[in-house]
Subunit: 352 residues, 2 copies
Amino acid sequence: MGADEGPEEMVRGGLIWAAKDTSSRLVLVGHSDRVKEAMLEIDDLPENISTEHAETEVPMKVSATDGVRMRDSSIAVGLRMVKEGRADAFVSPGNTGAVMATSLLTLGRIKGVLRPAIAAVFPTSTGLPTVVLDVGANAECKPNHLSQFAVMGSVYSSVILGIETPRVGLLSIGEERSKGNELTIATRKILSRTDLNFVGNIEGRDILSGTVHVAVTDGFTGNILLKFAESIKPMLVTAVQRQVRSNIFSRFGVWLMLPFLRRMRGTFDYARAGGAPLLGVNGDVIICHGASSARAISNGMQIAADMVKLGIRHRIQQELMNNHSGKENGSSKKGSDIGNGVVHPAGSDNQR
Amino acid sequence: MGADEGPEEMVRGGLIWAAKDTSSRLVLVGHSDRVKEAMLEIDDLPENISTEHAETEVPMKVSATDGVRMRDSSIAVGLRMVKEGRADAFVSPGNTGAVMATSLLTLGRIKGVLRPAIAAVFPTSTGLPTVVLDVGANAECKPNHLSQFAVMGSVYSSVILGIETPRVGLLSIGEERSKGNELTIATRKILSRTDLNFVGNIEGRDILSGTVHVAVTDGFTGNILLKFAESIKPMLVTAVQRQVRSNIFSRFGVWLMLPFLRRMRGTFDYARAGGAPLLGVNGDVIICHGASSARAISNGMQIAADMVKLGIRHRIQQELMNNHSGKENGSSKKGSDIGNGVVHPAGSDNQR
């Protein structure tokens, strides 16, 4: 309901997915009048679709704190369905802060998780995606939060994106051990004692070059980076359009290159990527861009379905627990198919 | 001497500038054998050139602490010339950490400056550049550091880039007053009490869109952002090249679009921009990319010359002092042609 373009585009996206994944069921959550109206536009309604009424919607401009108080919003209703087992996953292009806060409040955290994190998938030169997390759930982070992000990102890369032993890097300034800020220096120490495939510090340039499969950072830095990356495409599009208008040769050149330009546009089109999983909450939640296209929503639904089918939450819990107990007993639990997790040095805060 | 491509390209760059700006004088600092060898390649040596011998060079891989100890490196010799008044400015494509640390040690800080900052100029959709600082001098920052960065960036934008009343934004996550981390929330309070043209929080997307002329951030976030931005160009170039090889229509299309593609390449070519000023040290210092082309070096020399001629250090000192005393006396000093600076709330640390 709260998406930039209203519910019509979202309904269309949901239907693309529902028609494809006929073994799954789609529930459209929103004000029944609006949702039905949007459904009228569709000719061939798949059968695996139902609706759930929500009286209100969280506006985009509202703070997370205010959003979470709206107990009958489409966000609250959808997440309660997950909590009550009437849905397996929740996909929303609505107010990010409200989805995050309501997810945490309604679903709680996976056992052992200190802080949930939003993971964004960046395109790279290698063709393999890089998972960057946290991109906005936590403005202030502690070393133990970051080391858990590394575990969750590694599980996501392995289970959902199919990368066998994901290379994990810590986003910092300078590759040397001593470089970075207090947070990254302390995090690096923890991460190098885990069984993750941790390659050490990486720099901003290593994300697009695909040096690692998982880039760990605090939610402040990650969010600024994601928003910056999202703004590359509009800048390129404006530049190409200006060129097309100014020069007949370029106009022809652009025409010849259209398939390529479309692909490049897709490369930097984060809104189309299908949304970012909120990892660490006790339910499968995908946060989509407010300006998501139907295609992006459909992709987001597919990722959510994969998360459910592949049991990502169970895998995250397992990896965090394995590591925790393994390390505390002084034994090194090698042999897990994906890297293990987090060591908590004495005196560090294991509580939130 | 420490540049990626060796001194030849640097000498060539210096000569491009020296031939253009005949009222200035160029001193090539480096090992005399290597510098003379590089000069042999040049046919028409301008007359406003001399050399200064430096026995050693700081390797790129050395830490700032080790680099600063090399008292007869080309970096140390060049900066001593500035200190002793035998040169007005220093331009270096060498080890950034070493240039920074040696500058601070040799030249000291401008009176009133808590922390020097590296300013990078980002291209934007509007065509007007955005100054982002700090991009790497300070991994950990306090609110008073950031508010001084805002003053220094505003002076740079106004004096060197010619923007009349630069709009200053604080890089954060979310535009609301309450959004961000502890650092930005505290900084925002300070900045909104200054006479700067402060527009509040901005997000990562606002840099390329040119919403502000000055974007203030800590050196950790700024460095990651700059390195990420620098990596866009290689990614685009690789993609275009791959396309050219794969498809004859695209090949022709690319050929027709070459002037445009070259310009786009230039847009994201931060190495070509001419280097980043190290603002706040008591001497005019430009830090260039290690992979700088001759053209980039020449541009860097021009910026350094402008900084000297326009007295940027004096202007920074003035703006910081004006504001400081003005605010402490409780009077609001309006009427300065660029915004004033920094308020130090009681109990904040004014010392480094």
